[in-house]
């Protein structure tokens, strides 16, 4: 694509140098004068009554400034369903429940004091699987709802479903049917920088929170509610986002530890920082939800999909985060991945006494793409059709409206299927490696690519503030967590305003200085920021060009004088500058203002900074600060009906994998992987590759290695020795990335969201390749050597 100065280029990551040199400041690096170290006392039981808490000895530890419990602090309710509390009273419902907390002058004193807090429990029977939770007469995790109404069961009062067409008729009319039960495990987001925050009050009771968050403005609202609970109604929270050591969904909720830091800071009158260590991160930070899925889908004799019936059961854990809305995203692949006319979807979430769960990259999508794409290969086998052909035959196309009501604009799925299979040499390899236990598999995805409407607004604000030197300072409320948001924002602003990227400075995300934004989730960061930047830049340029009318002729005279001084033979252009200097005649590009009719004439170009100074330093001058708010044209779906066009466009992709299975050990070795993604437009090849490579590694971990193991609610592997994420050695196989550019009209410069898609289809693509290699299908992630061996033994029996 021509015409862009910076879009599509390898523009440098603005904060990259600071990160590569250790200058970037994470929550772990922040200190404040007089700051105390907060530490939390967690529950020793999964389900128990709290009989007694004694903090006397803890309070006597030298250096301890505050010890708090739910019994001596105001109640702060938190969570998506307000079913959680900052500190727990009367009853604990999971091992990680926060019972008390300490603030001390040094971390050792805080740890010692926490150890000295005595808690007496009366253990209660717990429920640790969805089946136990659903059993008649099962102990209730919550006896009442947040409004005090008695609860009759452990099923959450959240309804997600979809019905279109006639499932039963379609099932009867189907020539081939495949069904199965699949599961995905709890996994840990595994941010390299653990969770933490720093809370500080001013003398008036206003709060500053340095938070590891992806939702600074929703967090501000949550924290302001906490201030009200403390009797500080009307006071304000300022949320400042430091460098984040990864996000991956962990920042989409506010957390008990944050409220505890607030309580400790309020009680002690000192700034308080809480930072989790790695064991706390594993044991006490919410992991990705697990899911169990029952799927049936069918096709006619030719292989055209006839119906899809999906039921999901999720273990919510003891409390409810935004992660309980995973089914809202499951609706996308269930109703709209490949063309399927009859769809039924039901999702239920149940409380258990396990650790409660939260968001992670893909947000429900990988959980159901796993069964859908695995089962699709079973269907292909039943129908005797190559899985590639089955997918091509049912491929989504531009312009279609899916059963969910998704309005497909651009759709590069067909190109992705062809590219992924072509590059992997699918036709040659499929079915031919069985003798040496090699096989190929593929899987595709659909995801939101143009924002994802899950709140009443899906909007983002931006402010561009110009200085005297041709720089644009950008205030944007979205969060840079490593994905490269600030890099592409810098590019988008430079491109849209017409300056150079090095003159764009993205301010630290701060609710006091940045305009409102709903959060950095749903692959929406670059899409929203880019569109907001384009809106603001268009208005800014209009105003700039109007002012240029007044200052341009004088600046041209200065140019001419300077050129004459340099070269006495210089002759100014024969050009009526005053007549030509009309707002509509100007252009601004790469930091130069010029007339469109004479773009190359050195006399008729002025540096952007000069234009700004000329406007600032004159009688009745002005300043330039431009805001804009971008709100996508989308619908908040009706979740119980599963209908609504929640995004302005949809991202597609196909991954194809070749594996070799060791029949003796069950080990799976990936030989090659091709990831073809419809990205709309490549904004920055380096950050885009980074998003896909990083997501692929998480997809490989999800497929083969990762699982938070629990026994009766206790997490058994709270460290990287027992919880394996891929290292550089596990990722040692050829990876080819293919970017399909569909030039999406709703996207900034044609781009779609790309943050999450990379990890969505990886696991089923690998499982399908294993099936091709050795003829067994593992239906429970992760696909460990033990499961492969067991499946091989079962297939021989």
């Amino acid at each position: 694509m021509s015409g862009f100065s910076f879009i599509g280029k390898e523009v440098r990551r603005p904060e990259g140098g600071d990160k590569a040199s250790g200058r970037a400041l994470y929550i772990h690096d922040l200190t404040r004068p007089g700051m105390l170290y907060g530490k939390i006392k967690f529950s020793a039981h999964a389900h128990a009554r709290i009989k007694r808490i004694d903090t006397t000895r803890a309070a006597r530890v030298p250096g301890v400034h505050a010890v708090i419990t739910a019994y001596d602090t105001p109640e702060i309710r938190i969570g998506f369903l307000r079913d959680n509390f900052a500190l727990k009273k009367d009853k604990v419902r999971q091992f990680r429940d926060e019972i008390a907390a300490v603030a001390a002058a040094d971390p050792d004193a805080a740890a010692e004091a926490v150890d000295l807090i005595e808690v007496e429990y009366e253990p209660l029977p717990g429920v640790f699987t969805p089946e136990e939770a659903l059993a008649v007469g099962a102990p209730l995790v919550h006896e009442t709802s947040s409004d005090g109404a008695p609860r009759a069961s452990n099923v959450l009062d959240l309804a997600y479903g979809h019905d279109s067409g006639d499932i039963e008729a379609a099932r009867r009319a189907s020539r081939h049917v495949a069904s199965g039960e699949y599961s995905t495990p709890l996994i840990q987001q595994s941010c390299m920088g653990t969770a933490g925050c720093l809370a500080e009050f001013d003398a008036a009771g206003n709060l500053t929170m340095w938070a590891k968050t992806q939702i600074p403005f929703l967090a501000q609202r949550d924290f302001n509610q906490a201030l009200s609970a403390l009797g500080l109604r009307g006071r304000n929270t300022r949320v400042i986002v430091p460098a984040l050591g990864g996000g991956f969904g962990t920042g989409l909720d506010t957390h008990a530890y944050e409220y505890i830091a607030i309580l400790l800071a309020w009680r002690s009158g000192r700034p308080v920082r809480i930072v989790y260590d790695r064991e706390e991160e594993f044991s006490c930070l919410s992991p990705r939800q697990s899911a169990r899925t029952r799927i049936t889908q069918g096709c006619d004799a030719a292989g055209r999909l006839t119906f899809r019936d999906v039921e999901v059961l999720q273990d919510n854990g003891a409390y409810t985060s935004w992660g309980a809305t995973y089914p809202s995203v499951m609706l996308l692949p269930v109703t709209s991945l490949y063309r399927v006319p009859n769809v039924r979807f039901r999702a239920r979430l149940v409380y258990t006494n396990n650790t409660y769960c939260q968001a992670m990259r893909g947000y429900g999508n990988p959980e159901v793409t796993w069964p859908i794409e695995s089962s699709l290969d079973d269907l292909a086998a039943a129908a005797g059709i190559d899985p590639l052909d089955l997918r091509l035959m049912n491929c989504n196309e531009p312009g279609e409206v899916t059963p969910m009501g998704l309005k497909v604009t651009t759709c590069g799925l067909r190109q992705c299927l062809e590219a992924a299979s072509g590059r992997l040499r699918w036709r040659e390899k499929r079915g031919s490696g069985r003798r040496v236990a090699r096989g190929v598999g593929m899987a595709s995805l659909i995801h939101v690519g143009g924002g994802g409407k899950i709140y009443r607004s899906d909007g983002s604000g931006i402010v561009l503030k110009l200085d005297d030197f041709g720089n644009v300072n950008v205030s944007y409320g979205g969060v840079e967590m490593g994905q490269g948001l600030h890099t592409v924002l810098r590019q988008a602003v430079a491109e849209a305003v017409g300056i150079r990227p090095e003159n764009v400075f993205v301010n630290q995300t701060d609710t006091a200085t940045c305009p409102w934004d709903v959060g950095t989730h749903a692959s929406r960061g670059a899409f929203m920021a880019g569109n907001a930047a384009l809106l603001a830049a268009a208005r800014l340029r209009e105003k700039l060009f109007q002012w240029a009318e007044q200052v341009f002729p004088a600046e041209v005279e200065r140019n001419v004088r300077a050129l004459c001084r340099k070269d006495p033979a210089y002759r100014p252009p024969d050009f009526d500058v005053a007549a030509s200097a009309r707002a509509g005649s100007f252009d601004l590009k790469e930091g130069w203002l010029f007339l469109k009719d004479a773009p190359a004439d050195p006399a008729l170009r002025i540096e952007f900074a000069r234009l700004l100074r000329a406007v600032h330093y004159r009688d009745r001058g002005t300043i330039f600060t431009q805001e804009a708010f971008y709100e996508p044209d989308t619908e908040l779906p009706d979740w119980s009906k599963g209908r609504g066009n929640m995004s302005e466009n949809y991202a597609y992709g196909t991954q194809a994998v070749e594996v070799e299975v060791d029949r003796e050990t069950g080990e799976v070795k990936i030989l090659a992987l091709v990831a073809a993604h419809d990205v709309g437009r490549v904004l920055n090849p380096v950050t885009l590759k980074g998003q896909i490579h990083g997501a692929l590694a998480q997809g490989v971990g999800y497929a083969l290695y990762e699982e938070v193991k629990t026994r009766a609610g206790r997490i058994l592997n709270p460290g990287f020795t027992d919880y394996k994420i891929p290292t550089a050695c596990e990722m040692d196989f050829p990876i080819e990335l293919v970017f399909v550019e569909t030039d999406e009209q709703s996207g900034p410069f044609g781009a779609k969201g790309v943050g999450e898609p990379g990890m969505v289809p990886t696991a089923p693509a690998i499982a399908n390749a294993i099936y091709d290699a050795v003829g067994v299908r593992v239906k429970d992630l992760p696909i460990t050597p033990e499961k492969v061996l067991a499946a091989l033994h079962a297939s021989r029996a």
């Binding site: 040199s21 250790g22 050591g245 994905q483 990083g694 460290g719 990722m731 040692d732």
Partner: protein, 163 residues
């Protein structure tokens, strides 16, 4: 009882008090204020705290502080030159996309620096092997490996020019 430990930190002599149980990372991030060294796990599992001791990459979360007496320690702050210009390896990490959230970057870069001190032109397999103790959740490692290869290439081509 605290001891005084004296060593060379990024080319400058330092003396600092250390409890016998202190870890090197505690000295670096605490009294010495070198917060570029990150603590990701505290158990030697993730490599975020990697620094060089006498040119060899070690986990500073496992390394007893008193053991650095008389030795030379390089942290991420010590890789750039006196004017603050990034070293070629750091530059390559930024250019190639080896840096995302950045939390693993200092340790990852120092692990790679330790390798490049031993081997000027490592193979991809050697790079991956060397970095296997440094976890990264953002990048999938492809661009990290590319960065180390690019930096090694630059270093060897510079030497080629000098010869």
């Amino acid at each position: 009882m605290a001891h005084v430990v004296s060593f060379e930190l990024n080319g400058r002599p330092v003396s600092v008090q250390a409890e016998p149980w202190a870890r090197l990372i505690d000295l670096l991030r605490g009294p010495l204020g070198h917060t570029g060294t990150k603590e990701g796990c505290g158990e030697g599992e993730c490599g975020a705290c990697t620094v060089l001791v006498d040119g060899a990459a070690i986990n500073s979360c496992l390394f007893p502080a008193l053991e650095v007496e008389g030795r030379s320690v390089t942290t991420i702050e010590g890789l750039q030159d006196a004017s603050g210009r990034l070293a070629a390896l750091q530059e390559a990490f930024v250019e190639e996309g080896g840096v995302q959230c950045g939390f693993c970057s200092p340790g990852m870069i120092l692990a790679a620096a330790g390798l490049l001190l031993r081997t000027q032109d490592p193979s991809e397999a050697e790079i991956r092997e060397e970095l296997a103790g440094n976890l990264c959740r953002c990048t999938g490692y492809a661009q990290i490996v590319a960065a180390v290869q690019a930096a090694a290439g630059r270093a060897s081509s510079r030497e080629g020019q000098g010869a």
